[in-house]
């Protein structure tokens, strides 16, 4: 699978571009303290509402309190991407656990878990998020967990479908004939074979978690000022949309770039890892 998948991935131009964008964003967030020209919370009332490129000290301009926009974008990226990745890990762990239990054990447990999934899917995620966010004090971790725990349902369905198909295969019967316990079969035999769809779902989930963080931060339930996130930068910019539009455009562009990057990466991985395309098996 390995060599062929990479060959197919490389042919996918958009996916390569997406992967590159994602890598750049991650690097920018990781090295923010070294790259950022200013302290993102430093106020400078003598330099409010500067346009981009107006002064070399503030490459992308300043906001209503004279804070450097580029620095805030970089630090905000740290927050947004951290939330995105922690939420994705939560989503994948929960979704994979529920999906594998439902798929492998079947019967009553399957019915119970899948009806629970249906119930969760009945509510639009944003409302679910806002209800929970109203009761949970917003910290980085709590926001990530809340996003993760309201978006695992699709993953559990994907994993369950994959397990249902995999568990009928001969090598699972062979593993049982060699004395493997159910836990071992689920973790050692089934899970690694379902890795491709889980990986694809994971990349797409980072994108949607970044978007979710922006929603709830924009609505004021997410990351709280003065800590910058792309979402609350948008909230700030709202009052000046007609006079200083770049304050909204810049974080908006960062979100768009991230979401598109992860989505293209996910699409590319899906095509590259699609088992029907695995010629070399």
């Amino acid at each position: 699978m390995r060599g062929g998948a990479w060959r197919r991935f490389r042919r996918h131009r958009l996916a390569l571009a997406g992967g590159l964008v994602v890598a750049l964003l991650l690097a920018a967030a990781l090295f923010a303290p070294w790259v950022a020209p200013q302290d993102p919370t430093l106020l400078d009332t003598s330099a409010r509402f500067l346009a981009p490129f107006a002064r070399p000290a503030f490459p992308l301009g300043t906001d209503e309190l004279g804070r450097d926009t580029l620095s805030r974008l970089l630090y905000g990226g740290r927050v947004s991407l951290t939330v995105g990745i922690v939420a994705m890990v939560t989503t994948v762990l929960t979704g994979a656990l529920i999906g594998i239990l439902a798929g492998y054990l079947g019967g009553f447990i399957d019915t119970l878990l899948m009806r629970f999934v249906d119930t969760m899917l009945c509510f639009p995620q944003v409302f679910l998020l806002l209800v929970v966010a109203a009761f949970v004090p917003p910290t980085l971790l709590s926001i990530s967990l809340v996003i993760g725990l309201t978006s695992w349902m699709e993953v559990s369905r994907i994993v369950r479908a994959e397990i249902l198909q995999l568990k009928e295969q001969d090598f699972i019967a062979a593993a049982r004939a060699l004395g493997a316990s159910p836990a071992r079969i689920m973790l050692r035999e089934l899970l690694p074979n379902a890795a491709a769809p889980i990986l694809v779902a994971a990349t797409l989930k980072v994108a949607s978690a970044v978007l979710m963080e922006s929603y709830i931060s924009y609505l004021g339930y997410g990351v709280q000022p003065p800590l910058a996130s792309w979402g609350n930068m948008l909230t700030n910019a709202q009052g000046y949309l007609d006079t200083v539009p770049w304050l909204a455009i810049l974080p908006g562009a960062a979100i768009t770039l991230t979401v598109m990057g992860f989505n293209f990466l996910g699409d590319g991985l899906r095509d590259a890892l699609d088992p029907r395309l695995r010629m070399d098996r």
């Binding site: 699978m1 062979a174 004939a177 060699l178 004395g179």
Partner: protein, 327 residues
């Protein structure tokens, strides 16, 4: 009481798998009994649907729910009834005391685990070997099953091996813990004829060296003739004839066995213009006749055949027939 050493390794008594399927009762396996001694090969022969694989799955207790609760009878391995064991204790025996090789080598290996790791797995689980020891034993097993360059093959992925090589790897996995009993369910059916001969030869060698008893399940009489010590012929969920290979192949007593042998192509000076066949079809597991299940297809049918099913009589060569041949 006979002395303990005389007790067979495996004693199957009245093993049955009756599947309720209202309004029918599917008698997939219908009360079969046989013994298997240490180091012996018993060929279990029959057409598709005769209950061979169901028998193997019931012996290994590998039937999935809802079928898993259905088997009845006794399966004594060294005097211990496997049917009464809790699932955990049974899992500890699988791959350790009794093991199984499946029909499809192409799909029976985990595609995302290296060959060596798959052989090492039962060694670590059942014998408690550490990683390095298990890896060394895995390579040793690969050498035993005749794969060239075992160190390299241990690091190979299943898709890098051919069908024959994969079946060798499967055998290495199944025999890694030196089980007393190996169930081989059509181990060569999916392979080319030349590879088939090599794999059977390998099984014979390993059996001789390790003293493993083999239950060889196949529909291929030629395979049985060359590889088994004794034969049990299954028809419609029952054993209709059993005995030493030579006796059955030279003087079959059940008309079904005789029919099977007659339909086997042989190389002769004067080939027959056509190959004899047995008319009709195996009755479905739900609509077995009350008497002998073979009676509707049998040329030697007498009045008693349709009234009552014949018992399996004779020692060591037994046949379940009211009107047997070679009497």
């Amino acid at each position: 009481m006979p002395p303990a050493e005389a007790a067979p390794l495996l004693a199957v008594r009245e093993l049955a798998v009756h599947i309720p399927d209202p309004p029918h009762l599917l008698r997939a396996v219908d009360g079969i009994s046989f013994d298997l001694d240490r180091g012996e090969t018993l060929g279990l022969v029959g057409e598709s649907g005769s209950g061979k694989t169901m028998t193997a799955m019931a012996l290994m207790r590998l039937l999935e729910p809802p079928l898993s609760r259905l088997p009845t009878g006794e399966v004594l391995l060294d005097g211990e009834d496997l049917m009464r064991l809790p699932e955990g204790a049974m899992a500890a025996l699988r791959g350790h005391r009794l093991s199984m090789v499946f029909q499809e080598p192409m799909t029976s290996l985990n595609p995302v685990m290296r060959i060596g790791a798959q052989i090492a797995e039962p060694l670590r689980r059942h014998l408690g070997l550490f990683r390095a020891e298990a890896a060394a034993r895995a390579e040793e097993m690969l050498r035993l099953v005749g794969l060239p360059d075992p160190a390299r093959q241990a690091r190979a992925w299943p898709h890098e091996l051919s069908g024959g090589m994969r079946q060798r790897a499967m055998i290495a996995i199944a025999l890694a813990c030196r089980p007393a009993l190996l169930i081989a369910d059509e181990p060569t059916t999916a392979l080319d004829v030349t590879v088939q001969a090599q794999i059977l030869e390998l099984l014979r060698e390993l059996q001789r060296d390790m003293g493993t008893a083999v239950l060889l399940i196949t529909h291929d009489l030629a395979v049985v003739e060359e590889n088994a010590h004794r034969v049990a012929v299954m028809y419609a969920g029952r054993i209709v004839e059993t005995g030493p290979v030579e006796a059955i192949f030279t003087a079959p007593r059940h008309p079904y066995t005789a029919g099977l042998l007659a339909s086997l192509p042989r190389i002769r000076e004067e080939p027959e213009p056509w190959l004899p066949e047995i008319p009709g079809m195996v009755p479905g597991a739900g609509d077995r006749p009350r008497g002998c299940a073979f009676a509707p297809r049998c040329t030697r049918v007498i009045s008693g055949c349709v009234a009552e099913a014949p018992p399996l009589l004779g020692e060591p060569h037994a046949a379940a027939c009211w009107n047997p041949l070679h009497d």
